[in-house]
Symmetry: C2
Subunit: 147 residues, 2 copies
DNA sequence: CGCAGATTGACAAGTACCTGTCAAAATACG
DNA sequence: CGTATTTTGACAGGTACTTGTCAATCTGCG
């Protein structure tokens, strides 16, 4: 058995907290999005499309997901009339996703809720602490990305 | 539009890092588990069952998941001969999951890899930093749990 | 003891991701 | 110009979760 070093052990606690906070954040996001008829995934796609009509492949690259994942979410947004497909003169295969008025108002509603929620939570943790955690997590992420 | 406060904005960056690190950790876990014929989910279930034969409902409570999620993972472990179902004299409905020799050796293999991986990563971040991040994330998690 | 209520596993269906494969369309290049 | 390569959306199928429902069984209480 290879034993865990002190740091390794403390590191395991960090992992557990990351998983826990991630789960809680996802749940909070869904709660914020639900009253507008959205989920976290749908909200994120709408957020990207809000910057201008975009193809599925482009949205996927922006979000760091596969085309297939975005395709499914986009299809459900089209079904619900929050997004429409526009012909794309630049590429006959790839239609552009564009917000409908309904999609736009749903997005605005969630953004309003999200801003209030983030401000409220942020008020309870010091700026220095938030920045320190963000920095360390960024380093850890870079480390993980480098294998 | 409710504007994001400075802290609120910095907080948003923190969210993004949590999501990113979470995704990278999940990928790393799957990579660690794959050579042993496991996934992160299967590995976690085996880890709980390693403490002694347990019912699906008990494992679910331990892991903070639903019975249904654990049920599916457990079924796949049974299919692959890593776990067997034992009759439970205390409750005729709820059979106990128990490790087979094959399940045990797969678990040991992943645990060996995981310890080496955690030690290596932990060596690149100071103990103080790890503890600080863990503490802040724990606070944030508690805040989120209180709504 | 007997019954109401809680717990359990099974089943169905849904969300959010993934990989692999395919044909059509766009692009790069000799 | 034409062909090789890349990109794209669609489709199939898989993993890991969720909620809701059901009947069987266990438990607590009057």
């Amino acid at each position: 058995m290879i034993p865990l070093s002190d740091r390794g052990l403390e590191f395991s606690h960090l992992l557990i907290e990351v998983f826990r906070v991630n789960g809680l954040l996802l749940a909070a996001g869904d709660e914020l999005a639900a009253p507008a008829g959205l989920t976290s995934a749908r909200w994120q796609v709408l957020g990207v499309v809000d910057h201008g009509p975009t193809t599925v492949a482009e949205v996927a690259r922006t979000m760091g997901l596969t085309r297939q994942a975005v395709r499914q979410t986009a299809a459900s947004l089209v079904r619900d009339g929050m997004v429409v497909l526009q012909d794309n003169p630049d590429d006959r295969r790839a239609k552009r996703l564009a917000l409908t008025p309904r999609g736009r108002s749903a997005l605005r509603e969630v953004e309003r809720r999200q801003a209030a929620w983030a401000n409220e939570l942020a008020a309870r943790i010091s700026l220095a602490e938030i920045q320190a955690v963000t920095g360390t997590l960024r380093d850890l992420g870079d480390l993980l990305e480098d294998r």
